[in-house]
Structure formats: structure tokens, C-alpha cells
């Protein structure tokens, strides 16, 4: 299977000279289209940095990130932004919904930034909100009026509303209780399977990581393990044990 996402020997350093810190060292990874990849590792292992590099929010010191044949590290900032707006859905641990916008406005916001007509945007938003099991009752509420699980589902809806080819989730269950976390992870899994969206999930939870087709483990900025799900587990990987 050809790689949809290719991380070619990426190294990321912060700072200069004696104070330089290397966060990722020579990371190489290839993700086929439609794969659900879990990136696991302890705090400070470089998993969020890796996600930022994939999202084009940051650029590697060495190496490149290629998505759907495009070297996004070589793109100018504006084009990277455009690519992100059209092709990438981002989900954060802290939901990061805009507090002054209603849920509907929050979800609709990327479509508006893309310049889609208002009516079309609204219809699309409602379809997506239904997909993430958020009913009409929440459309006109503000984020602070919703539970954590509902907020994260709204954030997922915002990430999906433009129909991205790549969904990047950074600790999406970190602020949720285990039950709600499972609901959110089920939703991501379902979307991956139904819509064939490539998902990269960053987590420190071994349980969350099992939702992926494949799990890579990062430690001190290096990939120390790369596990694919055996067919008998129904597409989910066996939890990695702490080594």
C-alpha cells in the first residue's frame, strides 16, 4: 500500500548551541491512506511535536513530512495554512472551542473561513453534528454550557466539517472521564472506518492506543516500537506493555 503520510528521517531541535534540545531524532514513519495510527509515549517523548510537524504547525530541523505526495515542510506558511484548513482536522486535549461562539458557529467556522456560502455551511454543519451525536438542543449553546464529552464531540465535528483527509488528535481523551473517553475514541474509530479518514492519535494511554490499526511508541524522541494490529483482534492492536 502506498504511503499517504510519510515522515522522512525527521529531526527536531529547539534552541541553539549548548542550550539546544533535540526533541525528535531521525524519526521515519509511513502511514497508508485510511490508517488509524496511534502514537504512544510518555510525557516529553516528542509525540505532540511529531503531531505539530505533521499538521504543518512547525517545521522539522532535518527531514521532511510528505502528505498525499506534497512536501508540506517545503510549503510557504500561507500555503501550509490553506492546506491545513482544507485537508486537516485537528482535535485537542482541551477542546479549544471558541468560547464566544455557539456550538453551531464553532463547527461552521472553518467553512466560513473557506468562504463557503452560509446556507451550505449551515446544512453541512448540521449533518456533521448529527454524525457526532450532538442534537439540535446544543446548536445555539456556548461551549461552557456543555459537558466535556459534548465539547469534545463538537471539536471533532469542527475537525471533520471540511471533509479532511487527515485527522490529527492530540490526547483527545485527556480531559475526559474514562466512559466519555471511550465514547470519543469509538467515534474516531467509526469515522475512520466509515469515511476512510486517516487518523493520527497521540496519547499516553495504552488503552486509547488500542483503538488504532497500528501503534508506534516514541521514547526520548525516537521510535522504539511499531506494532500493527493482527487480523484476529478485529483491526485493533494489542495493548503495549510498559517496558
Amino acid at each position: 500500500m502506498s504511503a499517504f503520510l510519510s515522515i522522512d528521517n525527521v529531526t527536531k531541535c529547539y534552541g541553539h548551541g549548548a542550550s539546544a534540545t533535540t526533541v525528535l531524532t531521525n524519526v521515519a514513519l509511513s502511514v497508508p491512506e485510511g490508517e488509524f495510527l496511534s502514537v504512544m509515549g510518555p510525557s516529553g517523548s516528542g509525540k505532540s511535536t511529531l503531531l505539530n510537524l505533521i499538521a504543518g504547525l512547525d517545521t522539522p530541523t532535518i527531514g521532511r513530512v510528505v502528505v498525499a505526495g506534497h512536501d508540506i515542510t517545503a510549503l510557504p506558511d500561507d500555503e501550509r495554512s490553506d492546506w491545513r484548513l482544507q485537508q486537516v482536522g485537528l482535535i485537542f486535549q482541551g477542546f479549544n472551542l471558541l468560547p464566544t461562539f455557539t456550538i453551531e458557529e464553532n463547527v461552521m467556522c472553518p467553512l466560513e473561513f473557506l468562504g463557503r456560502p452560509s446556507r451550505e455551511s449551515r446544512e453541512r454543519t448540521r449533518v456533521i453534528l448529527e454524525q457526532v451525536d450532538l442534537g439540535r438542543a446544543v446548536y445555539h449553546r456556548r461551549p461552557a454550557e456543555l459537558s466535556g464529552g459534548e465539547q469534545q464531540r463538537a471539536a471533532i465535528a469542527r475537525a471533520l466539517v471540511v471533509g479532511p483527509s487527515l485527522l490529527l488528535a492530540d490526547e483527545p481523551t485527556g480531559n475526559l472521564d474514562s466512559r466519555t473517553g471511550e465514547v470519543v475514541l469509538d467515534l474516531l474509530r467509526r469515522l475512520n472506518q466509515e469515511q476512510r479518514v486517516t487518523v493520527v492519535l497521540v496519547t499516553h494511554s495504552a488503552l486509547a492506543a488500542t483503538y488504532g490499526d497500528r501503534t508506534v511508541e516514541l521514547r526520548d524522541g525516537r521510535i522504539v516500537r511499531d506494532v500493527r494490529a493482527p487480523a484476529e483482534t478485529g483491526g485493533r492492536v494489542i495493548p503495549l506493555r510498559e517496558s
Binding site: D58, D82, L90, F92, N96, C109, E112, G115
Partner: protein
């Protein structure tokens, strides 16, 4: 807090500068009065501009208790070098050593050794050393001066060291023998005043009463201290107006400080909640916050006072001009000194402003419950700073204040009503914003899509701060618009009224300004000279003078009788009814016309008997009609110049109005007059429209300070809007990071901040237009006539209003530059990590 410090500094600087300049201008006028009166305890005067017989001094001298009675010719002369530099003429009896000593001059050695030679040469003058040095003059050098009787050549016969009267500002003094001074500046035997030195053992009050009883009616006997009181009265209106401007500057600082402290305290409620949970009482927390604010205020004051001294140097010539024009006074050099009382006043008001601005936000922050604190971490407190009931009360009080002003029509009620309207405008901004919120939320995305939605959403997320910023812009530009409306109405009124009073093809007058905007008087021999020039059909003399009536200043405007009785110069524009044959009545000296504001301020109407205390005794005349005139804020009496000359013994004219022969080109006659009289009198010949334009220019000069004020307002608005936007972008760092992560281009981030600035600018300008024009209308129609006396025609300066609107929006956009740059440069990875 840096922006709060800057706002306080701006407000303090403005108050400090205005107070310093006001005091310096007043001190300068007082110094002239004190120096010119010397040791004299009393002065006998016929009133401003009028003359009295010099021989009266002997009668004064005979009064018990009088040690010396010195007749003085006091006038002005002007350099003919084109600079128009004014010199004070002091004509006394040079042969009388006692009289000279009244003014404490220190004679230079060798001066006036030959008094007879001095007296035998009527061109003899004495200058001060300072003036002579400045103009490179020495004894026996000639000096040409413009005098009322024309351009004259004098010879310097002596120099005075800088003591006593020679200390007069810049040494701009000419001392002459009284005989020669009468020839050049009054008429032989006529002086301007008699300075009276009272014996040490005599009571000044008793001597004064004796003089009043003894001298002819119409003459005034005043102590120099009384003249100071009169001066204070004359200056009070202009200085009150200027102080009001300073206070409005401080009010803008209050709004910015209030807004900023509100944000700062809310951002720290978490810390405060910790203190509260440790057991610190809310009152203690409140007090600590107020103390902290006072410290911030102290920094602002420390910056503002030196800035105020600097600003005072910048404003000094402008305010001195405004005061001189407004009060019709001659002003020379004004020395500015850093007076502690001005600094204390500005510092005290600045500190009071900061503490006042801190009270309510500190109270709210100190009393917020811990649970509220946690719940509202990212959102501004929903509670309005001014509860709805209090807002209603403030609105009601403001309405009552305006109604009271409309009924009472006093300066005090006007200032109170204006202050109340300003406070109400600031308080009402929050509910107004709440009402407009749905509309704005709809308009934002409609106009600029998600960018507009986000910009509007951000502003409405902090309605308190947004409302205060809009109020700051509204009040800042509103004040400028209000004062421009006032200035525009004044200028328009002058342009409309002047052609109704001064009529003719040409006007001849002095190119020199004697006091404020009034041209120096010329001897009425000028009229005959002008009348003799070919092409001149008719000449009318006009004289203006300040006088007292009913306990206050008025103006006298005297015209030759034919100006009232004949149609050569066109008819008068009367307002309302007149007495039958009013023109002839005035021409014969049996009646007078009065100005519209005279009727308004004094209360006399057509047909009433008006009694003026002329230097020759009471003069009773009938009010024959009412017309518009702008000479005095309190009112003008227009009378026959024959009557004026006879009763005031004043042979001068301010203008000669000229009508040219039919068929003769006006420019030809103009050129002839200038050529014939230019050398002898140094006159200026203008068309009437040019004179009116010149008067309008004087009005603009009087309001020049407004441009400096406008610049200060721009600075304050820049600070206020910049503050709001900067605070907004700082608070939303994470959100802006989210937007970047979602895929927003950098420039679009900048456009969001610019959008916020535009919304603030448009709403602020809208508030400014409503507030400024509302206050402008109130002031033009009611307050200004009550404060200064002039009755004005409302003129809305539409071009300037458009300029203010544009400037307001441009400044807001400019203020967005730094916050927008920050938003554009934001690193999304760092921003997303921000708590």
C-alpha cells in the same frame, strides 16, 4: 499597567499645562498693572480709552490725604519695521522728580542732564536698556513709531535700567514727557489717568471717598487691587473654559484607567481568591488594590507633571492668544514658571482620578466569590460595573441637569449639565452595546464572514471593556467636535454679523493690533485725509471702546451720525421692532442701538432708557433698536460718534469706512488711499470682505488651541484603543493559536484585529457625533451665551465632523497595528500551549 500610566500622565499633563499657562497669563497681566501703577495707591480714570483733563490733577492734589497726583498719558505705539511689535507709552511730567519716582525708574548716569533740551524737542523719548539692546539702539538714535496721529520719528534721549517701570515685559516701554505724549497720542491737555500717591498717615479708603465726592461724575477712583479683581473677572470666563477642557482630558484618562484596572483586577481574581481563602477580608483586599492603583497613578503623575510643563511651553502662545483675543487685552511676553500650586492641583486631581477609577473595579474583584472566580476564568464578569438602577438614576439626574440648565441658563448650570451629559454618555455605553449586540452579531458575519463574526464576538465577549473604549473614543472626539462646533458657530456668526455692522466699499485702519483683536486706534484727523482723496464719496469714522455698565463690561461702538441717518452705506439690520425714525434718533445722540446679546444679558429692550456713566457724567439715552454685534460678549451699545467724542473726550477712530464715487473702481481708490496715507499713517486699506475674513481669522486664532487638544485626544484614543486591542489579543493568545491551527493565514489573523479596531472606531465615532454635536448644540444655544455672553448662530462643521470621523477610524486602525502584528507573528505551537 504601562498604558494606564500613560493615560494618567496625559490627563495630568493637560491639567497641569492649562493651569500653568492660565496662571502665567494672569500673572503677566497683573505684572503690567502693578508695574504701570508703581507706588500709586489710587488711580483716577475716565474709563478704558476715554480721556480726562490733565488739569484735573491739581484738583486731585488738593484733596486731603493726597501726597502726589500724577497725570499720565498711557497708550501704545508700534514699530514700523513690519513686526508690529507693541510698546507701552508712558507719558509723565519729566520735570517733576516726585512724579517720576512714583514709577521707581533707575536713571542711567548722565540721563536727562539737560531736561530743558529734552522738553524743547517733542520727539524725545526714553527707552529701556533691554529694548535698546535688542534693537541695537543708542542715545541720539532715531526711532520711527506708529502712533494714533500717524507715523512719527522720535529720537532716543535716554535709557532706563531694568528697575521699576522699566521691568515691563521685554522692556517694551517708551517714556515721554506728557506734553509730547498728548500731542502724539491724545490731544493737548488730555490724559488717560491720574495716578494718586496717598500720604502714609492717610487712609486710602477715606481719600478714595473724598475724591469720588470731589471729582466730576463719571470719573472712576480705583485701587490697583480693584483692577486686579476686574481683570480676574474678565479672564475668568476664558480660563474656566480652558480648565473645563483640561478636566475633560482627565475624564478620558479616568475612563481608560477604569477600563484597564477592571481588566487587570479581573485577570487576578484567581490570586485574590487565594488570599480570600487564606482568610484575608475582602475589605483588606479592596484596600490593597486601591493602594496599588494609587501607586500606578503616582507613576503617571510623575510622568505627567514634567510632560505638562513641556506641554505648557507648547500651549503658552496659543492660550495667551486665546485669552488676549477673548478678553480683548494686550499681552506681551509671558514668562512660564513651574508653579508648585499647578503641579499640586494636577497631581491631586490625577491621583483622585486614579483612586476614583479603582474603587468600583477593586470592590468587584475583592468581593467576587471563589466559585465565580473559577467559573469565569476566561470570560469577563457578567455583572455590569454600574447596576441598571444606578444607570437609570444617572440618566435621570443628567436629564434634570440639562432641564435645569435650559431654565436657569447660567454658566454653572451649563458646566454641570455638560459634565452630567458626559458621565451619562459613558455610563449608557454598556447598555447601548447590549442592545446593539444582536445587530452587531448579525452584521459581523454578513460583512466579513467568519473574520467579522470573530472580531465582533471578541469585542462582545468583553462588553465592559468594549463599552469603555467606545466611550473613550466617543468622549475624546466628541469633545473635539463639540468645541469645533462652538468655534465654527462663532466664526460663522462673526461672518454673518460683521457685514451688517461695518458697511462700505473699503475700510481703513491700523495694521497694528492694540488689544486682543482690536486694531490700534488712529486720530480722527485720518477721516479728513481720507475724505480728500479723489474717488472717495463718503467717509465714516468708527470707534470701539470697552466700558462698564450694570456691574460688567460692555463695548461701545460709535459711528459718525451720517452712518445712522443716511443710506450711503446701506441700512441697519434691525432685530425686532425699533423706535420710529430710530436712525435719526441715534444720529442726533438721543438714542442708541444695542446688540442682541446686550438685550439678553442686561435685560433692556427697545424704548427703555439706558444710562451710561460717561467720563463727563451720566448719559441717558433711549434704546432705539436692536441689531447684531460681536464686539463684546456681554453686549454692545452703538451710538453716534459725535456724542461719544463729546462725552468720552476721545478723538480716535478704529476704522474709517469708505464709500467710493459711482463709476470709480474700488481698487483704484484703495491704491490711492494706501499711497497717500501709507507713509503718514501706516494704514491698512481693505475691502470689507477682507476685514470680515480678518476677524474670522482672529476667531480661528482664538481657537487654535483646539488643534493641540485634538492631537492630545488622538493620542489618548490611540492609547485607549491600542490598550483594548492589545489586552484582547493577549487574553486570546490560545484562541488565536487555535485559529492558526485550523488553517487561518497570518494576514487573516491581522485582519481580525483590524476588524475589531474598525468596529470600535465606527461605534466610537458614532458616539462622538451624537455626543459632540449634542453638546455643541447645547453650548451654542445656551451654555456659551451664559458663560461668555455671545449669542451665536449654530453652525455644524460638517467637513470637520467628517474629518473627525475619518481621523477616529484611522487612529483606531493605527492603534491596531501593534496588536495585529502580534497576532500575525503568533507561533501557533507556542500559542496553543498558553494557559
Amino acid at each position: 499597567m504601562a498604558l494606564t500610566v500613560l493615560a494618567v500622565a496625559c490627563g495630568v499633563a493637560l491639567v497641569c499645562a492649562i493651569d500653568l499657562v492660565n496662571r502665567a497669563v494672569y500673572a503677566s497681566f497683573v505684572e503690567i498693572l502693578d508695574i504701570m501703577s508703581g507706588k500709586a495707591a489710587l488711580q483716577v480714570t475716565p474709563g478704558e480709552g476715554a480721556l480726562l483733563p490733565e488739569a484735573l490733577a491739581a484738583e486731585v492734589k488738593e484733596t486731603p490725604g493726597v501726597e502726589l497726583a500724577v497725570p499720565v498719558v498711557s497708550s501704545w505705539a508700534f514699530l514700523t519695521d513690519g513686526s508690529g511689535e507693541q510698546l507701552t507709552v508712558h507719558g509723565v511730567d519729566i520735570t517733576n522728580d516726585d512724579a517720576i519716582r512714583v514709577y521707581e525708574p533707575a536713571r542711567q548716569s548722565g540721563l536727562l542732564e539737560d531736561v530743558l533740551a529734552f522738553l524743547n524737542q517733542p520727539d524725545s523719548i526714553i527707552l529701556t536698556e533691554a529694548f535698546a539692546a535688542r534693537h541695537h539702539l543708542a542715545v541720539e538714535d532715531p526711532l520711527e513709531l506708529d502712533t494714533p496721529t500717524g507715523r512719527r520719528r522720535f529720537v532716543v534721549r535716554g535709557l532706563l535700567a531694568p528697575t521699576g517701570i522699566a521691568r515691563l515685559q521685554g522692556g517694551g516701554l517708551v517714556v515721554m514727557d506728557i506734553g509730547a505724549a498728548e500731542l502724539a497720542f491724545t490731544r493737548p491737555g488730555l490724559a488717560n489717568r491720574i495716578d494718586v500717591v496717598v500720604r502714609r498717615d492717610a487712609d486710602v479708603g477715606v481719600v478714595r471717598d473724598a475724591l469720588i465726592a470731589k471729582l466730576p461724575a463719571g470719573l472712576r477712583v480705583e485701587a490697583p487691587a480693584q483692577r486686579r479683581v476686574d481683570l480676574q473677572k474678565v479672564l475668568r470666563s476664558v480660563q474656566t473654559l480652558l480648565q473645563a477642557v483640561g478636566i475633560f482630558g482627565l475624564f478620558a484618562a479616568f475612563l481608560i484607567t477604569f477600563s484597564r484596572l477592571n481588566v487587570v483586577f479581573e485577570a487576578r481574581v484567581g490570586q485574590l481568591a487565594v488570599l480570600r481563602s487564606l482568610g484575608v477580608r475582602s475589605r483588606r483586599v479592596w484596600w490593597e488594590l486601591v493602594k496599588e492603583s494609587a501607586l500606578v497613578g503616582a507613576f503617571g503623575i510623575a510622568l505627567g507633571i514634567p510632560a505638562g510643563i513641556g506641554l505648557a511651553h507648547l500651549l503658552l502662545p496659543l492660550i495667551a492668544t486665546t485669552t488676549a483675543i477673548g478678553a480683548k487685552l494686550a499681552i506681551g511676553e509671558v514668562a512660564l514658571s513651574a508653579r508648585p500650586e499647578s503641579m499640586l492641583l494636577a497631581g491631586g486631581l490625577g491621583l483622585g482620578t486614579v483612586i476614583l477609577a479603582a474603587l468600583v473595579p477593586a470592590r468587584q474583584a475583592a468581593r467576587m466569590a471563589v466559585i465565580d472566580t473559577l467559573r469565569n476564568r476566561d470570560v469577563e464578569s457578567e455583572r455590569p460595573l454600574v447596576p441598571p438602577r444606578a444607570t437609570g438614576v444617572i440618566l435621570l439626574v443628567a436629564i434634570c441637569g440639562v432641564v435645569w440648565h435650559l431654565i436657569a441658563v447660567t454658566a454653572l448650570s451649563g458646566l454641570v449639565a455638560s459634565a452630567l451629559v458626559t458621565i451619562t454618555m459613558a455610563v449608557l455605553m454598556r447598555p447601548a452595546l447590549d442592545v446593539a449586540s444582536p445587530l452587531l452579531r448579525g452584521l459581523g458575519p454578513g460583512i466579513a464572514g467568519a473574520t467579522g463574526r470573530y472580531a465582533i464576538g471578541t469585542l462582545l465577549r468583553s462588553p465592559r471593556r468594549t463599552a469603555l473604549t467606545i466611550a473613550t473614543i466617543g468622549i475624546g472626539f466628541g469633545v473635539v467636535l463639540w468645541l469645533w462646533t462652538l468655534a465654527g458657530s462663532f466664526e460663522r456668526s462673526v461672518r454673518e454679523v460683521m457685514p451688517g455692522v461695518l458697511r462700505g466699499d473699503l475700510v481703513v485702519g491700523s495694521p497694528n493690533v492694540a488689544a486682543g483683536y482690536i486694531e490700534a486706534p488712529l486720530d480722527d484727523g485720518l477721516l479728513e485725509a481720507v475724505g480728500g482723496i479723489p474717488g472717495v464719496r463718503s467717509v465714516v469714522g468708527e470707534m470701539t471702546a470697552d466700558w462698564q455698565y450694570g456691574g460688567g463690561p460692555i463695548a461701545l461702538n460709535a459711528f459718525d451720525p451720517s452712518y445712522f441717518s443716511e443710506d450711503t452705506f446701506g441700512g441697519w439690520r434691525f432685530i425686532g421692532r425699533t423706535l420710529p425714525d430710530a436712525g435719526a434718533l441715534v444720529a442726533r445722540g438721543h438714542g442708541v442701538l444695542v446688540s442682541e446679546n446686550f438685550v439678553h444679558n442686561v435685560g433692556l429692550e427697545v424704548g427703555d432708557l439706558l444710562t451710561l456713566d460717561s467720563p463727563s457724567g451720566p448719559l441717558s439715552v433711549r434704546v432705539a433698536g436692536v441689531t447684531a454685534d460681536f464686539l463684546s460678549p456681554r453686549g454692545t451699545v452703538l451710538l453716534s460718534r459725535d456724542l461719544y467724542r463729546e462725552r468720552w473726550r476721545d478723538p480716535h477712530v478704529t476704522h474709517a469706512l469708505v464709500r467710493v464715487d459711482h463709476g470709480v473702481e474700488v481698487p483704484t481708490v484703495r491704491e490711492r488711499i494706501a499711497r497717500t496715507l501709507g507713509v503718514r499713517y501706516g494704514v491698512r486699506v481693505q475691502r470689507l470682505d477682507e476685514l470680515v475674513a480678518w476677524f474670522a481669522e482672529q476667531v480661528r486664532r482664538a481657537f487654535t488651541g483646539l488643534d493641540v487638544l485634538a492631537m492630545l485626544v488622538l493620542l489618548v484614543v490611540l492609547v485607549g484603543v491600542g490598550d483594548t486591542l492589545a489586552a484582547g489579543t493577549l487574553e486570546r493568545t490560545r484562541e488565536l493559536g487555535v485559529l492558526r491551527a485550523l488553517g487561518l493565514r497570518r494576514r487573516r489573523m491581522g485582519r481580525i484585529v483590524l476588524g475589531e479596531a474598525l468596529v470600535l472606531g465606527v461605534l466610537g465615532v458614532a458616539a462622538a457625533v451624537v455626543f459632540g454635536l449634542g453638546l455643541g448644540v447645547l453650548w451654542v444655544t445656551t451654555t456659551f451665551p451664559a458663560l461668555l455672553g455671545w449669542t451665536l448662530t449654530l453652525h455644524v462643521p460638517l467637513a470637520r465632523a467628517a474629518g473627525v470621523a475619518l481621523a477616529g477610524i484611522v487612529v483606531c486602525v493605527f492603534a491596531a497595528y501593534l496588536p495585529a502584528s502580534r497576532a500575525v507573528r503568533l507561533d501557533p505551537v507556542v500559542a496553543l500551549r498558553t494557559e
